[in-house]
Symmetry: C2
Subunit: 185 residues, 2 copies
């Protein structure tokens, strides 16, 4: 079912993907789909979430875990390198672009994507940054919700808008610049 | 012509917008369009560029100018506050979302968008950051092309993916965090 949903959205785009089309491709009746999901957005997001979890596990990482070795820079670099791998994984790339593009023009869908697909990892960043604040490695007045954007947003923009290449060296640099600041110390 | 192109892409989306449709809405023959533009992507990007320049001028700013008062933080805050205004301008928002969404799924189109619509302002950021390096306000080893992403990418992601609200206070905070770093000094 998930494969049918993802392959359909990749082929025809989000607007033309229908519950009927997913059912036909999966070889089931549409009632079967409606028994479990209330809309095509729901099916697609769950299918994508399942794919992302598989990819994370195959990459040797635990989904919904963020390392805490006590070295914040090192931990952020490990997580961002894994994100680079995911963003470059072709199984992941095409469906996630189809969903992200729909989120750009459809605010309600975009907010659902954030809540279901992104918020769990944002929460982990916030938790790790708060631990770093407790350890005196991040200034106490910094808002972790904004700080985490220095790690995820530049990478997201390069990926979404094709504004630049994505590499481990690049994400390592983001971590160093963000922690130490652009101004001389 | 520009109005026709933008209103059409807003109504039917990028994939269904055609040169014929733009010509019909503008009340001209399609040969007229082909005399000046080679594709619908060209027409739409120029229409959008024209709109963005108008919006900048109406906001009391010079397009393609970046203040240099000697106070890097203040200059960045002024520019980012103007960007917040533009992103919230409804005339600008809907067509720019339609173009951005197409850029997410179509790499060639995305790269054209960056080259035509974004690169001029990226160049201005780089120039201002290099001047700040010369003035000793930004560390000499920092790559300005990466550094500028701390100012534009978090804002771009909140706007594109609906990950959070956009305000002057938010962009002011980005400037302070990026210049001084998250770690204690």
């Amino acid at each position: 079912m998930y494969d049918a949903a993802l392959s359909l959205v990749v082929e025809v785009g989000y607007p033309k993907t229908t519950i009927e089309g997913i059912a036909a491709r999966a070889g089931v009746g549409k009632q079967t789909i409606y028994r479990w999901w209330s809309s095509k957005a729901d099916v697609l997001m769950e299918a994508f979430l399942d794919l992302a979890e598989q990819a994370t596990r195959q990459g040797g990482h635990e989904p919904y875990a963020f390392p805490d070795t006590g070295d914040l820079a090192a931990d952020l670099k490990v997580v961002l390198r894994a994100t680079v791998d995911e963003l470059k994984d072709p199984r992941f790339e095409v469906p996630s672009r189809a969903l992200a593009a729909q989120g750009v023009v459809d605010e309600q869908f975009g907010r659902q994507l954030v809540a279901k697909l992104m918020q769990p990892s944002l929460d982990l960043y916030m938790e790790r940054l708060r631990a770093a604040q407790d350890a005196g490695q991040v200034r106490p007045e910094v808002d972790p919700r904004i700080a985490l954007e220095f790690f995820i947003s530049p990478l997201a923009q390069r990926w979404l808008q094709h504004t630049g290449p994505i590499s481990y060296e690049y994400t390592d640099t983001l971590v160093d610049y963000a922690l130490h600041g652009l101004a001389p110390r």
